[in-house]
Symmetry: C2
Subunit: 140 residues, 2 copies
């Protein structure tokens, strides 16, 4: 938390209560959240918070490279997550919508090299697995 605040301060950004609240809510959301989820959480303590501010602060954090936006199938908007040093992927539950991190990358890099030989220079990839989490499978 203070680490993020320090980064912002160092780069000349002001530390407003709203900004603090967004960061706090974000860190509390278990690394995954949509803008709306963050707003809901922030409003528990800052009822006047606006969604715009959430978006603006998330965008700022994305620009600073602190968090990232990921694509999850579904229409409820983009999901933001903390950038960790490790490149990783997600298991997304089709029932409850929760995402878990995968702690390894199951991509076969040798095969990938081949694709690059066709002239395509791969710089990144996004990989999400869909299915049903333990909870939903056993209680559904």
């Amino acid at each position: 938390m203070e680490k993020l605040i320090t980064i912002l301060r160092e780069r000349g950004y002001k530390i407003t209560p709203q900004r603090r609240a967004v960061i706090t809510a974000f860190l509390e959301s278990d690394k995954f959240a949509t803008a709306q989820q963050i707003l809901d959480r922030v409003r528990e303590t800052n009822p006047d918070m606006s969604l715009d501010t959430v978006y603006r602060n998330l965008a700022l954090l994305v620009n600073l490279g602190v968090i990232s936006e990921i694509n999850i199938r579904g229409k409820d908007g983009n999901i933001y997550e903390l950038i960790t040093t490790e490149h990783h992927h997600h298991l997304v539950c089709l029932n409850c919508g929760k995402a878990e991190c995968l702690d390894f990358c199951p991509i076969n890099c040798e095969k990938l090299e081949n694709a690059s030989k066709n002239g395509f220079n791969i710089t990144s990839h996004s990989l999400e697995f869909y299915g049903y989490c333990y909870n939903c499978r056993t209680t559904g």
Copy 2:
């Protein structure tokens, strides 16, 4: 083309000129298209076509399991693609936005089994690679 028409007919759907045009345009789009791209193409021959109809027909085809919607990073909407019998992935050029198909799945399935052992039942996955295609690399 006629195969799709037959499927529709068999299920009791009417074959309207608009529906034909959407299917034709879709097949011509090299298997990838956004709703808007299909509309643009359709309008070359059917200038009165509306975007709603494109959406409705794409949704119908998705429901019939004939085409699918895929997530590509970017804000210009969902991309639809023909379902082929082969499960496959895409190389998406960050410069021109074009997508190419990958003819194999570079996912290491053994490792994946492990994840499932944590209680998560994986039913599908989406994987997109981002980078720069030959054209953009050499002419950019």
